[in-house]
């Protein structure tokens, strides 16, 4: 078995218009910039994107939004240093937003990966973000029912990967990435280093290969923060 793809272009080539796509990262940390840019080149439209944020500047997710590929965004914090790509389209109604508290977003994605169709959380109880949701009491305390989140595809950034898809992540670039690996029908991962099977100690694997479908090596990947400092723009 070898899950390796020859290029980022091939790795994302079959993502169709209308797909739901999870994209890992928290701000620029752990954002799979090269996979996102390959998807911009491929050009599917009408996508639902699940990410913690809504892009920054004119690269990565922000560039996807500028390329008119995103119909709906599910996120917790659609603000950044330069959120104009999203803000402008949201305010004039060209992009839909489902705002989800960050912990609920993480747990809904994990639930999607773990086969848990719904769970209860105290988060957002009594707020407008719980409107229309079922509420139940447990041990005298009210909780909000939340549903799992799944995706057709996940775009993920990892540090090391082996041909089986076992992954490690770098520093705080882990964030949503391991969860999204679990919750998509097809998980596509860019790894900074592809290593032979057996090179990753089984005890330190963070994402076991069963959650990964495709791997592509992107050595020396771009950092969104540095691209933005350089005022980069994609394409």
């Amino acid at each position: 078995m070898n899950k390796q793809c020859a290029s980022v272009a091939k790795a994302v080539a079959d993502i169709p218009s209308g797909a739901t796509v999870m994209i890992g990262g928290f701000g620029g940390s752990g954002a799979p910039i090269e996979l996102i840019h390959a998807l911009i080149d491929a050009g599917p439209t009408n996508l639902t994107v699940i990410n913690n944020n809504a892009g920054n500047g004119h690269v990565g997710l922000a560039a996807m939004i500028e390329a008119k590929m995103v119909a709906k965004l599910i996120c917790s914090f659609p603000k950044s240093k330069d959120p104009r790509a999203f803000t402008e389209r949201y305010l004039d109604g060209r992009i839909a937003l489902e705002l989800v508290p960050q912990g609920t977003l993480a747990e809904r994605i994990r639930a999607g990966g773990a086969g848990i169709p719904a769970f209860y959380t105290p988060t957002a109880y009594g707020t407008e973000l719980a409107e229309g949701k079922a509420v139940a009491e447990f041990d005298g305390k009210p909780y909000v029912q939340e549903r799992w989140l799944k995706a057709d595809y996940a775009l993920v950034k990892a540090e090391r990967g082996d041909p089986y898809g076992n992954l490690t992540f770098r520093l705080a670039a882990r964030n949503f990435n391991p969860l999204m690996c679990m919750a998509a029908r097809t998980t596509i991962v860019q790894v900074s280093q592809l290593v032979p099977a057996g090179d990753i100690d089984p005890e330190i694997v963070v994402t076991p290969g069963i959650f990964v479908d495709r791997l592509v090596e992107v050595t020396d990947p771009a950092q969104e923060e540095l691209l933005n400092e350089a005022e980069a723009r994609y394409p």
Binding site: A114, N166, M182, G198, P202, P208
Partner: protein, 228 residues
Amino acid sequence: MSISDTLNQEQIAWRAAQDIADGAYVNLGIGFPEKVAQYTVEGREPIFHTENGVLGFGRAPARGEEDWDLINAGKKAITLKPGAAFFDHATSFAMIRGGHLDVAILGALQVAANGDLANWRVGDKGVPAVGGAMDLVNGAKRVAVLTDHVTRDGQPKLVSKCSFPLTGVACVTRIYTSLAVIDVDRDQGRFVLREKLPTLSMEALQAVTGAPLFTEGDVADLIVPELS
């Protein structure tokens, strides 16, 4: 009636192994189903999962070389293959419940025509123990059963309705027996015969099966090597 020419457990396991694709993620139940690993088809590399948090394990170690922190769900010592991974129990069952396993292969007391499975408890006596069976049957993409076609005293194990306590509802997708390979058509709640021993008549097979056997197109000959 009795049927003298039947497959043994090795042969049933061999037949089940033929349906496991290269790269498939597979969980084998304790005991009889574990034999399937021995008959992995040349050139294919399934990846074996065990409930207690290991993916990519291999054969048992030599006697005296066991490490008792490295065991499978049957609490037997195992070894690792390159590319193995450890994880906690919640992640292990996220793999199962979340639909990431390609196939779970289990034993059965009874399988009903709608795919109901009974394999964890005979009655309400003794100490009940369920382990991961109920998770596996509700999670894996395919749930295959290995079983003798009838009980020791000749009663059908493939039935119209299970009399033993259920492990799962409408969960079994394929049954490998000592006489036949049978799919469960869960939409219509019926057994569909795919293969049978060539020496066995349809009538004789139906006579030891507790629910009607349907066919869709040809029924192939169930041919397996000599194994023991």
